[in-house]
Amino acid sequence: MLAMDKTKAQAWAHGFYVHAIGLTRRSPTFVAGLCMVLFFLGVAIFAGVIAPYSPTESFSYDILRAPSDRFIFGSDGNGMDVFSRVIYGCRYAFGIAVPAGLIMVGIGLPLGLIAGYKGGLLDEVLLRTLDVLRAFPTIILALAVVAATGQSLISMVVVIGVLDSPIFARVVRAEVLNLRASTFVKAAVAMGNPAWRVMVVHILPNAILGATAQLPMRMAWAVRISATLAFIGVGIQAPTPEWGAMIRQGAEYVITGEWWAALFPGLALMLLVLGFNLLGDGLTDILDPKRRGVGK
């Protein structure tokens, strides 16, 4: 019995190994991105175990200490451990990216589906909204809206998700427009299926893959923009261990050579955003090698 289990496990491990090698060959970017995102996700989940100190514990005798054995990333202007703060910052990054991504999908998917399939007024409104967004500096829009709706984490997530959903809708819309002209959709319509059924049962499953590839890139954007807002001083404020707020706090010391308080949170931010971007890039590659490089 045990022997069989072992061979089964071996077979499974072998299969996993073969798949992993194949995937790495096909798209090294995808695997690299996946590993990076999973790494940060792990750090976010086990932040309490990894971090040596509480992210907001202030050591008043250790202000702006250079990296050492005690504070491996140094300590910041409040005497807080930069390493612990960077670790806990992962939670804020995922805490923003994941719900914002869900909001984007929740609004963008149906919007793009209906606009692409039905056309007409909704489509026109969507396209004009995109025109306005294209000419409007997103950061300004986000700034104004966050300032208006209050500076809580929840309002920031909602604003980011809603602001980006038309862009997601555009991707879905483009997929739907392609599919609408295909024979199988025409056949489904000819069979007398109602419009909602054609959309949900016939078009949606085929459009969803291309849209999925966009999701990591949009999440990368969400992480970036929330950190940018915090850096400017809108949204999450210090001493919350959020990377953008940490860079803001560390920025004033850079010019006098105390670099660690700004360097490490920025590095973490860059690596996670890079991970999401690589993941999305690789995913687009795997799903459709011909159509890479579209989108912002």
Partner: protein, 339 residues
């Protein structure tokens, strides 16, 4: 050639008619957004000592006590007369400030986009010759890494390395060193003005102050350029007419030359959208390096609740992007033999 001129005139006319509602929408959106925001500019202007009566008087003076739509109508009437209002913080007419600050931002953006195109387009083309080859993988990784870096953080690190450690760059404050006399203002761009009066000292100082911000901005701008060029060239190389040319026995070099000419149009369009999105992104780089350009001014105005400035800033960005897209589409229309 008369037909050509009429065609251009009609194109511009149609484009203006289509853009007008979009611009109006942007102005309206900005106007309402900042007024519905949580900031109270009156309280900020009047200071902590002001009592309710003073606040109300100031509010009436700034016409902020009127209904929103009436305020908007008022604003539109004044725009029609070429009056963008006055900055509440500085007391300077917004239009003057825009004239004064726009060249600084344009300098930064144009230099960066030009450099990014010079670097990004050849790399993208090279990457496209062998998709998923080693050069492609490396260039993709590097460009995505550059793209993923937060601009302001890149700027900070550049200041750390090139100003604090190496002492190569001047202090990240302003567009000129203090001891250098600024050239007489003709265009507002210090580079151009210094060139006009052959003031090499000012030119050198301005270039030194621009070097780091332009380098950071180029990194940001080059990544999408590489990606887009690669995608465009791959698509063209896989098209039917290229396959047909190959089948006809043209040499690889000839085929590539023919194909690349067709990449010009989509590349140009992409360059336009790059230019407009970077103009908005310039705010953070200007903020880090204290370049006192349009973006820094607009950013501060948002944080301070200086409504007229925010409106003027967003309007400038919108008009600029509209103009860029119009010029680019016009060029595309003229060079495309298919139209």
């Amino acid at each position: 050639m008369g037909g050509q001129t009429a065609r251009i005139a009609r194109f511009i006319g149609v484009r203006l008619a289509v853009s007008a509602p979009v611009i109006l929408g942007i102005v309206f959106l900005t106007f309402m957004l900042i007024r519905m925001g949580g900031q109270d500019p009156v309280a900020m202007l009047a200071g902590p000592m002001a009592d309710e009566a003073m606040l109300n008087a100031l509010r009436a003076q700034l016409q902020l006590d009127q209904p929103l739509l009436a305020q908007f109508a008022n604003y539109m009437v004044r725009i029609a007369h070429g009056d963008l209002g006055v900055s509440w913080q500085g007391g300077i007419p917004v239009l003057n400030e825009i004239r004064h600050l726009f060249p600084a931002t344009l300098e930064l953006v144009l230099l960066s986009v030009a450099l990014a195109a010079l670097i990004g387009i050849p790399i993208g083309m090279r990457a496209a010759t062998k998709p998923n080859g080693w050069f492609d993988q490396i260039s993709r990784f590097v460009s995505l890494a550059g793209f993923s870096m937060p601009t302001y953080w890149m700027g900070l690190m550049a200041i750390l390395v090139f100003f604090y450690i190496l002492r190569w760059a001047p202090a990240p404050m302003g567009r000129l060193s203090m001891e250098v006399a600024a050239p007489a203002v003709v265009t507002g761009s210090i580079l151009v003005d210094a060139l006009l009066e052959a003031n090499w000292r000012a030119m050198g100082s301005a270039l030194a102050h621009l070097a780091l911000p332009v380098a950071c901005f180029t990194m940001l701008a080059a990544a999408p350029m590489i990606k887009q060029t690669r995608a465009i060239v791959i698509e063209i190389m896989g098209s039917d007419y290229v396959r047909y040319a190959r089948a006809n026995g043209f040499s690889a070099a000839t085929v590539r030359r023919m194909a690349l000419r067709n990449a010009a149009t989509p590349l140009l369009t992409f360059l336009g959208s790059e230019l407009t999105s970077l103009l908005a992104a310039a705010a953070l780089i200007e903020y880090i390096f204290s370049l006192s350009g349009l973006g820094q001014w607009g950013l501060n105005a948002i944080l301070l609740g200086d409504f007229a400035v925010v409106q003027g800033y967003v309007l400038t960005l919108a008009l600029f992007s509209m103009a860029i897209f119009m010029v680019i589409d016009l060029i595309v229309m003229l060079i495309e033999p298919r139209n």
